[in-house]
Symmetry: C2
Subunit: 475 residues, 2 copies
């Protein structure tokens, strides 16, 4: 046995409840979990490294089921804006200056933040995923579910008015699709990497290409990770292209695109009936509560999806806007936003929030046999949390384990002090074992200054509401 | 000059905007701020202690405008419950075992958490405030606005059914009122302490006693800190006592209780017209977004109150339930919950959230001449924040200062590394200078275990929804 964590409050997330074992221990051999149980049942002499888990909770590493890490250099770049201004007038003037290297640097920053707050699996959605896998995820030794974006619309949206129907460029779509196929080939035998198909959204891809993607996904037994029903911009396109009385979900259903391979992201512009149909077809969903509430003032229907029998997970989307890649905060946001929107304080309770970021994430991403809970035979993705902090105390186990609500409602994220991924210790006593954190932070900060500077003229010209905030000395 | 913080991103919160000075410096002499400006304008040789503020933001200490620190030992004790169960079936079985010493210990824990996340002024609402002032606030050297609770209803609510009209006990009310008067006398010359009158809520106090309190508040030129329109339990009492068509605000107005001395806490059961009346009368308000959304699924009307010209601030209420006393998290909660409930991503923007916890808090508590912003002549309540963290980077100042949104939308709270209160350094480089943190944490944890154990039988018998959560292994 290589590593043992002993005398810990073990929250396995296995079974119907949270699978909590007080005075628990976990043993790791190679990249797998080889022991789960009470500390007294473990032969500690067998372990090379023993981590003292007292006053700590030990959990499965968290799963961020939808994230674009490459935009993290633009954190703080666009928020408190009308939805219609956020993308083009707010973020656009800076985003256009992001080079391929900047996306790698931003990804490093976002992944650092994610690891420090307990995330071990990142479901990355991006163009040129291979850049981030090679430069960030593999060198950092973190698990990645990589989705290569496939779309047929030029990323330069300034060519279109919001009401124009986008012109599809099939060559671009084919080229993206080819890159996605290559990604599957390139990483099919790499342990830390798995891959999904990423037709971006129905407003950005033709049904023809979508069908081809579906066929290949079936051949490769892969899932399809797609933004669905994400609001006004998409709705205008779908109605313009497919008819005034239709919707994204209806078009997908009519073309037999809905099945258990579909991972539907966002869904806030879907009806309850459409979500029931998705559940019936076996599709899963991912919601991004912080992102969608900051950008749109809307709560994604994560809780409803679960109530009607679906599987839902959560993610942090991009940093500019919601600001963060901290899954503890995201679990809390999911719970609070649901309680508010349903006017019901029992909605989305603490343990359900914890499931969203563990077993549910694993199920949505098709990795439920490998990660999401602490069980013998599963991959050793494990985090420990220092409970000896003023904001987490007290921890009691009788008459119930208040550690579960405290992790969701009281934790900041920085209390994560050990992170093990695939059996390797990545963060040890708050320090990275294999990553030069400070030099990345410095480089990211310096480079962001240049990008924001480069975008200044366009930003002022775009004249979003943020420009008036600036004039008033608010930012 | 005793202390200078130099080369910092100074966010003064002075003036209409956030009053940000890049490459700023602040000088402190005794308990007052004696210099604000650019670092190059400061003669550093004059300062005894120089704090390097590079890669840091420096802000006024945060103001928590409504808090009950004495319940912090019960953190994680009651949440995810129907509103009607939270107080009596959830918290009650444990709360009845809290001794006077337990409240002191809980208060220490809550104040530690508050300081660590940047709070320097605690607006404490409690019975026997003098215990906490003597044992916690003064020894810890933190600023306290103490409100002595005055009410005429026995705290043992098990005597009443929810629909019974409470029997008032004037002797209890008089005794509370006397204690409140003594508090004023005792601390009138103590620098760190100021005092308010605290008639708990209109359902718990007679109009006679309320009038007497008002008269004394006028004589002492003090404010009146009162829970107003806090929901169903109060509404039943007011209608039963004063008539089916009346409300708390109407009764208070009819008896000429509404004026600029009133600090109305919560207000989520008030109408927009009633809030307009309160604003017209000069009353201010405090909302507790995390607490009220967790306990009731409701967003307090903080943003509406500001829109109609009122002054509003925020606080964290009690730890059990919302879980925390972290004002950075509370600012974020205020912003996000407002965006959601108004379906408007521009609602309660970052800088407005920051005002809630600084200048607005000072104004509500009647301390706007002394604290809430960094200005020469004001009290030296100052915090610094280490921006060199993966979740806060990048920080850019052109074309705007993204530090403002990043502090609200990306900060955890633990990045606060220096806390100065009344000119004294309480937290230096993340370490308390005058508080034995670890022994308090240990004692709090041990004592809480006993209290939860003592409450077990009653808790099981009360049979709240949490008991079923326990049976299912969720907590």
């Amino acid at each position: 046995m290589d590593i043992a964590i002993v005398d810990t409050c073990l929250i396995t997330m296995s079974g119907k409840g949270v699978g909590l074992i007080n005075d628990g221990a976990i043993g790791i051999t190679g990249d797998r979990i080889t022991f789960i149980g009470k500390t007294k049942e473990l032969n500690q002499r067998e372990a090379d490294i023993i981590i003292d888990g007292s006053y700590h909770a030990t959990l499965p590493g968290l799963i961020n089921s939808h994230i674009h890490t490459g935009e993290t250099l633009l954190r703080g770049g666009a928020q408190d804006l009308p939805e219609i201004e956020w993308m083009n007038k707010g973020l656009g003037p800076f985003a256009k200056h992001l080079t391929s290297d900047d996306k790698i640097l931003g990804s490093k920053l976002g992944v650092l933040e994610g690891i420090r707050s307990g995330t071990t699996t990142f479901s990355e959605y991006t163009r040129h995923a291979t850049h981030l896998i090679k430069e960030v995820f593999l060198p950092f030794n973190v698990r990645v579910v990589a989705t290569e974006t496939i779309n047929e619309v030029s990323s330069d949206r300034s060519l279109f008015k919001p009401t124009d129907i986008y012109v599809f460029n099939r060559d671009q779509g084919d080229s993206d699709f080819k890159r996605a196929s290559q990604l599957f080939e390139e990483y099919k035998d790499v342990d830390l990497v798995s891959t999904l198909y990423g037709p971006q959204a129905l407003d950005m891809i033709s049904l023809d290409l979508l069908q081809e993607i579906k066929q290949q996904a079936e051949e490769r037994n892969s899932k399809i990770h797609m933004h669905i029903a994400q609001g006004q911009r998409e709705r205008i396109q779908i109605k313009g292209r497919y008819g005034a009385d239709t919707t994204t979900v209806k078009v997908l259903e009519n073309h037999k695109m809905l099945d258990n391979r579909v991972i539907a992201v966002h869904l806030h512009d879907s009806s309850p009936e459409e979500r029931s149909l998705l559940v019936k077809r076996g599709a899963s969903m991912v919601g991004c509560p912080s992102s969608i509430s900051l950008i749109d003032g809307i709560v994604p229907p994560v809780s409803h999806y679960i109530e009607i029998g679906g599987v839902a997970a959560i993610g942090t989307d991009q940093a500019p806007g919601p600001g963060h890649h901290n899954m503890f905060r995201e679990m809390r946001a999911a719970s609070f936003s649901t309680k508010i929107i349903q006017k019901n304080p029992t909605a989305l309770p603490a343990w359900q929030a914890l499931k969203l970021a563990t077993m549910n994430g694993a199920s949505v991403l098709g990795l439920e046999q490998e990660i999401g809970s602490l069980e013998v035979g599963k991959k050793a993705d494990v985090i420990t949390i220092d409970l000896n902090n003023a904001n987490l105390i007290p921890i009691v186990s009788k008459p119930f384990n208040n550690v579960i609500p405290n992790l969701i409602y009281s934790m900041n994220g920085n209390e994560v002090d050990n992170v093990i991924i695939d059996g390797k210790i990545v963060l040890k006593d708050n320090k990275f074992t294999n990553i030069e954190e400070n030099s990345i932070l410095k480089e990211a900060n310096n480079r962001a200054k240049v990008i924001f500077e480069e975008g200044t003229e366009d930003w002022v010209k775009a004249d979003s509401k943020m420009v008036s905030y600036r004039k008033n000395g608010f930012i």
